[in-house]
């Protein structure tokens, strides 16, 4: 059987191999990229689905519009408006997780050979998704304030990419936070170079102390013309439930229309059963207390992990203490002759009974081999202390 040529551009994730080792008994895992199942508001979701099946069973179980279930689009627009973004229900489509938003962008925008700029490091599935559509991926470096906008501007001017894909707020894997000043620069750059910017924002609601700067979407109203070049992908996966597979995409009308057409032939529409459930959940007003809870729990775990890493690994590791999201992104310094390679440490750590993901696979090119990603989301504080202790031994 001869497969499509586009498959030559990708390979199954290197991380998958690592995940096979996680079944080993007694392993403490910092490797996951998912929220803690114990945080799910099961009772709230149960009430929501029962309301949907009682009040609107026909709609919840029937085919629906490709654009999304209107009561959910209304709730999501209101949710975005509460965070300062001017979004109408017609200005967004519901996607099967924000992953599908990325897939639809690839299908709608990328012709084989087109260039796309991403951050280095960035979300692994994004790189592969865009490569399947034939994109050549260009990497823009990040630092403690997110993507380096002077470098990003040079790359945009040089490569004239189809779009630049950024996770400005607590991104996977960097956990980084793009500063307000740089956010404005990105929007000005979009207009100056007539370049589409994609803001992927699954983690923006997961802040621990002060709220992060407004999203690029919210800021776009202050930068004339930038709104016509901005795509924003959101998701309920990290704060409510990944299993619902409910995400959304805000985009200029012509792009949204083409993405909708592509979605029609991709999966017809996102599960109306899940959409009606999410709509009822948001309507019931439970989201604010759910957000309060996850922010408090993940914030405490982030603090515990940061303190433990500083105590157990000392000068062997450096990282910016995360202000939100699910991850500590760290670099092995090699100080005192200690291990400086993330993949080497990952193997040793498994032997000591703790797992994490080395950072190299998150780079589309020129990986920093000394990096690692540690999730603090799914282990409780006791496990975090024990796991970091084991990591100290492995180092």
């Amino acid at each position: 059987m001869q497969f499509a040529t586009r498959l030559n551009n990708v390979e199954t994730s290197a991380i998958r191999e690592l995940f096979k080792l996680l079944g080993k008994p007694g392993i403490i895992s910092f490797a996951g990229g998912f929220p803690d199942s114990a945080m799910f508001d099961v009772e709230g979701i149960k009430a929501a689905v029962n309301a949907a099946l009682t009040e609107e069973p026909g709609a919840a179980l029937q085919y629906g519009a490709t654009e999304g279930y209107n009561p959910l689009r209304e709730q999501l627009a209101a949710f975005m408006q509460s965070k300062g973004a001017d979004v109408t229900p017609e200005g967004l489509i519901v996607t099967t997780g924000s992953q599908q938003g990325l897939d639809l962008l690839g299908k709608t925008l990328i012709s084989p050979g087109d260039k796309v700029i991403v951050e280095g490091p960035t979300f692994l599935a994004t790189i592969q998704c865009f490569r399947l559509y034939g994109a050549e991926i260009i990497t823009a470096p990040i630092d403690g304030e997110g993507v380096q906008t002077d470098k990003l501007e040079e790359l945009i001017a040089l490569h004239k990419p189809k779009f630049a894909y950024l996770i400005p707020t607590f991104g996977n894997p960097s956990g980084g936070l793009l500063s307000l000043e740089r956010r404005k620069k990105v929007l000005e750059m979009a207009v100056k170079y007539n370049t589409v910017i994609v803001e992927d924002d699954p983690y923006g609601d997961l802040y621990f102390n002060a709220a992060p700067p407004p999203s690029l979407l919210a800021l776009s109203k202050d930068v004339p013309g930038s709104g016509d070049l901005l795509v924003h992908c959101g998701s309920l996966s990290k704060v409510l439930s990944p299993g619902l597979r409910v995400g959304w995409m805000v985009a200029p009308p012509a792009l949204l229309a083409n993405a909708t057409m592509c979605k029609q032939f991709s999966d017809a529409h996102t599960s109306t059963f899940a959409q009606a459930t999410a709509a009822q959940y948001l309507k019931a007003g439970r989201m604010p207390s759910t957000l309060d809870k996850v922010r408090a729990v993940y914030g405490q775990r982030a603090l515990t992990m940061g303190n433990a890493l500083r105590k157990e690994l000392g000068s062997a590791i450096e990282f910016v203490q995360p202000q939100g999201g699910l991850f500590v992104w760290a670099r092995l310094t090699g100080a005192g002759g200690k291990v400086s390679d993330g993949a080497t440490l990952a193997k040793r750590a498994i032997d000591k009974g703790v797992a994490f993901v080395p950072g190299a696979p998150f780079y589309a090119s020129n990986p920093d081999l000394s990096t690692l990603r540690l999730s603090f989301a799914t282990a409780d504080e006791g496990k975090i202390l024990e796991g970091v202790g084991r990591l100290g031994e492995a180092v």
Copy 2:
């Protein structure tokens, strides 16, 4: 904004324009391609989702494997086995409706310029889906026994297609049934020409009297080598609920592995919330009585529509009385100087207060302009009689 070149290959469905007219008050619609919402087993689905959220809330709301939720894969394999197909849970993946199965086949198999054979007429969204991946679509004609296998063989020999896509059982729009003899010929042809055959089977369980011949999948065990070239797409949409968006795909291992990789970057996985609900529903053993009910209701409606068409339109129309599915596929004969163009009749019919879909858009090429598709699924018998009466006036 410059869109991907692949968008030049498709356009939004011509049918969409017609659907905008359906909001007109008093219209009786035979235009839909969906099951009757009144048939949904709402109480059974409610029980299933509550069981899922009580027994396995973590799994139902968390990320899951791209291949699908294992308890559902087990139930689906058992369901297929009960219909004579040798399928293991590992031999299928869950898809976001069977539409996603088609999309994954396109992504996995079609390089731009590849040829794909479909039936004329066939499911509209399939044509568009494959064209988005750059396929050149070749049409194989059908008659009262399904696809004409002698013509299909000529086309396969001539065009060496990437695959041939068939809906052998009560397909949309033709409602046709491929005979047992032809089914065997198709499988032999697959082996003889080393050509992949895709069997799309969302309607196979919706038979009204005798069960149809076994699926190509079930028959493939009798034709050595054919199983290595056969893809089978199934769906719960027509018998249980389209809103769940739960379909599945059975395929040879290498194809299934590549389709899984493509799915990982398309939507990560199908809603575990919907999958766990479907698994609980199947486990509860409610499917047989649900199938009994929908078969009886749709069978009666099909009979009512067929008799009314013969009575009201007489020699102006010809069709094969459907033995299953949701559709009457008919041809206007033009007898007695009556209208012979489906699109012309569709416009007149709207004025008389009844809607259906003309058949021409269902052809990838060389449309038969005299055809029409009438759904008997969503109108009750009184409405069917009244609607066909109006159609008689329009003719």
